[in-house]
Amino acid sequence: MVTSPVLQRHPDDSWVLAAPLKVSPRTRRVLLALADAIMPTSPRSETTLEDVTRHALVCLQYMPRSSALLFLVGMRLLNWTPLWRFRGLRPLTRLSREQARRHLVAVTQSRWLPIRLSMYGPLGLFMSNYFDQDYAHRAIGYDPVPFVEERIELRRKWVEGEEPTADEEIHHLRVAPP
């Protein structure tokens, strides 16, 4: 829980976050299926898929219209990965998460650059959002807020004239590396 008045996930500085880009229900289903296949299955909250997909659509609002459109077309093409890989006739939206993931892994490992390129966008959007959530942070042992709060306080004291001492140095290695 954030105790500081600063470092809020949604800071209130009167700036307005864009509304998600409006897309058709079919495109939305494709995004949900891709997010589901790309992100780890656990930990998740009940709303993870919705949140991550919504965030992706918000991010698309900040891109030029042509880039956003290209991204969505790319997602629709990715949905038909089984077809253009000659591995099946059904789109990812009709496959199980594991099956869909196997297809997407193959795309990320393709020897053809344009095919690998099609995964840049979804990987960036979905993974960066997933690994920015508190439950994902807990799973990997990352807890930046207390550390940053402590550093803000350290600097405040320094500005008031109290220079940091050796005790405030950052050390984690108990022994020197081999």
């Binding site: 008045p5 600063v6 996930r9 800071p11 500085d13 700036w15 976050l17 864009a18 509304a19 296949a37 992100m39 780890p40 918000v58 991010c59 698309l60 609002q61 900040y62 891109m63 030029p64 219209r65 880039s67 993931r101 490992q109 020897r111 650059l113 690998r116 840049y120 990987l123 960036g124 959007l125 993974m127 960066s128 959002n129 690994f131 920015d132 994902a136 799973a139 990997i140 042992g141 990352y142 930046p144 807020v145 550390f147 550093r151 803000i152 350290l154 600097r155 320094w158 500005v159 940091p164 001492t165 050796a166 405030e168 140095e169 950052i170 984690h172 290695l173 020197a176 590396p177 081999p178």
Partner: protein, 501 residues
């Protein structure tokens, strides 16, 4: 008035100023502050929003759309395609960069001097400008309390291998190593232009229009007399309010991609046909060491130093811890496999190899956005392979159990012997994965209208009243972090800017 936003504008509103500066990053904020201090009436126009230090936080989800152009979804097309990041907010890229303050090497400045045919861009002429900038941004070495284990580990690795490691001087005032440079420093220590040049400009009477995208220059009788843009509705992202600024001079400081995009819309740069050419991007390749012990690289300054042993080859190596969201987007795994790897996040040391450009790409206009094109050549590719191999060797020397490499067909290696496969498997330039934040060139400065886009005052040869002050002025690649060089050239443009009576 100071900062205005979308809610403050009325349709068809025209503002007046002596000088309008488009952009508030390392170029725009500096030129505007210098002019305001000299008594000029300055108005900044910024496409992004104003985000005070108190709103900055370690979370990517909102920070990215707030602070980064296109929510970070920007890419340079070529072989390989290179994603890039630049700021879109008050402070520009200085708000989200590492704050390094390296001057360009003397050989680079000597080359600039020779290309310009005048001493103006040489080491001697630029020396006082560098000193002025460094004083204003508090370019200083780090306090030991701010340095993290990843920096120490890299330094120790360099020492063991006999390589030169130099501590960074950074734009910081009492940095305590919160390692939040990429999402904006929440301690107020990093001296981005949000914290030094912009407040200075405002204290001398300058104002700033935020959330306005400039679409055209306002040209009358062959002279640039202002800019025409639209305010961007923050909720819908539609450009829905016309905003104009009339001025005696216009300074374009939108960076090496957006500046030529704006100018090419007017078919400028005709004398040399160099506008949009000479695009340089100082690409870098990630090398992530995974250690069997916790390092907590996310604690401590982002980049305590650089390995500069191979600077003569145009190769720099540095650590740069990024938040897990950014790291996860760069690793080649999905689902549980990605999570298993990310569970070792505290044992990761994220480093990169930066290679000085030996050739250039282009920036052109396409549909509603600029199109940047850049393909690494064989020479640069070879240097990347060499740099990656050296950096991975360092990680193994320091005890890494695994190293993630920037190759799509060879993502991980588990021992130093595996590195022998690099030469064999990496013959194609398509398999290397690059990234960049150092965009330069495209409006090169010079003393000859046949070879440069702007003159040594920063004014376009073919459009009086229109100046450029950002990284696009660089005649050649600098091979180091460009912030100080941009600021020095922006100071020069401010000092030489002529206003008609």
């Amino acid at each position: 008035m100071s900062f205005l936003a979308h809610r403050d504008y009325r349709n068809d509103q025209t503002f007046d100023a002596e000088v309008v500066v488009v952009g508030t990053g390392a170029g725009g904020a500096v030129v505007g502050a210098e002019l305001a201090e000299a008594g000029r009436d300055v108005l900044f126009v910024e496409e992004g929003g104003y985000h005070p230090t108190s709103s900055l936080n370690p979370y990517l989800t909102e920070s990215i759309p707030r602070l980064y152009r296109d929510a970070g979804g920007t890419i340079i097309m070529g072989r390989p395609p290179i994603p890039y990041a630049e700021g879109r907010c008050v402070g520009g890229s200085t708000l989200i960069n590492g704050g390094m303050t390296w001057r360009p090497p003397e050989r680079v400045l000597t080359e600039w001097e020779s290309l310009a045919g005048q001493p103006d861009l040489g080491p001697k002429a630029l020396e006082p400008l560098f000193e002025r900038v460094e004083e204003r941004i508090h370019a200083k070495p780090q306090h030991p309390a701010s340095v993290g284990e990843d920096s120490r580990l890299l330094e120790e690795g360099a020492r063991r291998l006999g390589w030169r490691y130099e501590h960074n001087r950074r734009a910081q005032d009492r940095c305590v190593g919160s390692n939040q440079c990429l999402t904006g420093c929440p301690t107020g220590a990093k001296q981005s232009t949000l914290l030094n040049y912009m407040p200075r400009a405002l204290s001398f009477g300058a104002h700033c229009l935020t959330e306005v995208r400039i679409r055209k220059l306002w040209i009358e009788d062959g002279r640039c007399v202002g800019v025409i843009g639209k305010a961007v509705n923050p909720r819908t992202r539609q450009c829905d309010i016309d905003v104009r600024v009339r001025s005696k001079a216009v300074v374009v400081s939108c960076g090496a991609i957006q500046t030529p995009y704006l100018l090419l819309g007017h078919r400028l740069g005709r004398p040399s046909r160099q506008l949009g050419k000479n695009f340089l991007c100082h690409p870098n390749a990630k090398v992530i060491g995974i250690y069997p012990f916790d390092i907590h690289a996310w604690q401590g300054v982002s980049q305590g130093g650089q390995i500069r042993e191979f600077l003569d080859e145009g190769i720099i190596m540095a650590e740069n811890a990024v938040p897990p969201g950014t790291a996860a987007a760069q690793i080649p795994f999905l689902g549980e496999e990605a999570l298993e790897l990310m569970k070792q996040y505290n044992g990761m040391v994220m480093t990169g190899v930066l290679v000085e450009d030996s050739h250039a790409g282009t920036v052109t206009r396409s549909f509603d956005a600029p199109l940047a094109k850049y393909t690494i050549n064989t020479y640069d590719h070879e240097r990347f392979l060499r740099g990656v191999r050296r950096l991975a060797t360092l990680h193994f020397e320091m005890g890494a159990k695994q190293v993630i490499l920037p190759f799509s067909n060879m993502h991980t290696v588990s021992s130093v012997d595996d590195l022998d496969r690099i030469e064999r498997t990496q013959r194609s330039r398509s398999t290397i994965e690059l990234f960049t934040v150092h965009l330069m060139g495209t409006c090169r400065m010079g003393g000859n209208r046949r070879t440069s886009v702007v003159n040594l005052k920063g004014e376009l040869w073919d459009l009086p009243g229109c100046y450029v002050a950002d990284a696009s002025l660089f005649p050649t690649a600098v091979g180091v972090n460009p912030q100080v060089a941009i600021m020095a050239l922006a100071t020069m443009v401010a000092q030489r800017l002529d206003l008609p009576n």
